[in-house]
Subunit: 314 residues, 2 copies
């Protein structure tokens, strides 16, 4: 091996810090960051995720993925003076884990000079997640905390986005997350939603886009590390072996062994359409798209006897 | 728990030998066999797999799945005097493993009084698999033995079926196999074939049907055990951690944890169609459907410099 081979194979100058196996790019720090950000720009353009005059609500949990997204979008949107960018953070009320994440989110947004709005389950629904988990209504449902938390968080973000006049919500779902979601839907026999993380078809809800759709999770982690995003020290205490975890593990191992498989799978899902597609309706309570009369979230809020006056009052 | 609860919940009489978790049927020996065979009949009817006057070539490897299929189809087809049923076995030339399987196949078919035709890679291609694996051409390809063996076996079965005047080929692929194949195609980004194990669209090739499409692998194993099918003592010496193995393991674990998921996944795949479906062509050499000019099998035969005079001469 000669000396040159240990240098970045894009610029030919910097020392290699990252090897992109599926494309055989061996990148220095600067080229990794540059190509990473360029891919986000290309993703947004390819799927027409954002418009020049959007009011973009970035869903920021405070974890490395969402802070990385905030960072990249901040850099990109500086060039679009007609667009507005702000962060929305939901405090579910999980001691330790979320307290730290919310602090990280607020600190990081302030450092960038991006406005950030924090809403809590407590103020929106009358209960924090941990309190809620102790109610007899919650216990009666026999659901995993993640299922309930996910549905309520989605609802809370929609509420915040509407209240703040957002025209689009940007989430930090990566290539891995998107493929996992398609796969989960397949394994459940539920193919009503095929446009995951895309601007969609102009239905009632505020569209959600995932600018990391073409970015592998591991690259987001590395990007976060390179640009100095604070990593969380607390893991969520409610994390459990969910459907998604089994699918995540399988896909990660598979892509490790057959690099490029996540992209191939995404290509497959993008080619698919469903025979006799069912028309989605609007939820009678909140207007979100659903294949029943009432969406899963409102159904859940109802069976949990939660206060929904606040979230309905926009 | 009362005494009754330990009896079959279909007939209420026999002792329970099998618990079908996804339907909560607890079955005695007789009811397991009856419902198993009934499901095969229903599967054939639902997908219109077989016709009253078909000449059915059953692809029999000599393993438990294919001998079970031969057994069930023999029972079903006795009621259709215009149909003809025979077995086709391919001897790939794998010492020990296949030698035993071929003997099991011939013995079992004779016991049923079903004609069986054995063809070897040696007579068809001029080489047995093990011999072939020692050639420089094979080594140059850098392929797993299973990839080459699968392609050649498929070709050999098509050849035999054509030569014997079959109108349809029945294979012992189970629900598990079919879902694995769909999943492999997804993970490869290749969705040209969506009709796996179905009679298909009348293309040039002899159609292949999988009457175990709705039968889980574990039920085939149990059926084989109940009706006294000989189990193989040799495993294939070439088996390796293939793409399919990773997918098989994942799906088995997932369905174990979330029973019914294999059926749900199959439902998903049956709902799918592909945007701008490409028209399949016929292979220039063998007439099999392909999305290139020459099918994968003929391409492989060519690069292996195998003698294809025999298989082309039908």
């Amino acid at each position: 091996m000669t000396r040159e081979q240990e240098l970045c194979n894009v610029c030919g100058a910097g020392p290699i810090v990252y090897h992109r196996i599926y494309s055989n790019e061996r990148l220095c720090r600067a080229c990794f960051i540059k190509t990473f950000e360029k891919r986000v720009v290309k993703t947004i353009a390819k799927y027409q995720m954002l418009r020049r005059d959007d009011r973009i609500a970035v869903a920021v949990s405070g974890g490395k993925d969402s802070l990385s997204l905030l960072h990249v979008l901040y850099k990109i949107e500086k060039k679009f003076p007609d667009a507005r960018l702000f962060a929305v953070t939901i405090d579910e009320g999980i001691e330790g884990y979320r307290t730290e994440a919310v602090r990280n989110a607020v600190d990081y947004a302030s450092r960038l000079g991006v406005e950030i709005y924090v809403y809590s389950f407590e103020e929106l629904f009358g209960f924090g997640l941990e309190e809620l988990m102790r109610t007899p209504e919650y216990r009666g449902l026999g659901l995993q905390p993640c299922s309930v938390c996910g549905v309520l968080r989605r609802k809370a973000i929609n509420y915040a986005a509407r209240k703040l006049g957002a025209t689009v919500i940007a989430t930090a779902h990566t290539l891995d997350d998107i493929v996992q979601t398609y796969m989960m839907n397949i394994m459940r026999g539920d193919l009503t939603r095929l446009e995951i993380g895309l601007r969609g078809d102009g239905s009632a809800a505020i569209p959600r886009v995932a600018p990391f759709r073409l970015t592998p999770e591991r690259e987001v982690v590395f990007y976060a590390y390179l640009i100095g995003i604070p990593f969380q020290s607390h893991a969520c205490p409610n994390a459990s072996l969910s459907m998604r975890d089994m699918i995540r593990r399988f896909l990660a191992e598979y892509d490790e062994r057959y690099p490029g498989s996540l992209y191939a799978a995404l290509r497959s899902f993008e080619k698919i359409q469903v025979k006799q597609e069912r028309q989605l309706k609007s939820c009678r309570y909140c207007g979100e798209p659903t294949n029943k009369d009432i969406c899963r979230a409102c159904e859940l809020l109802d069976s949990l006897k939660l206060n929904t006056a606040v979230v309905s009052a926009v």
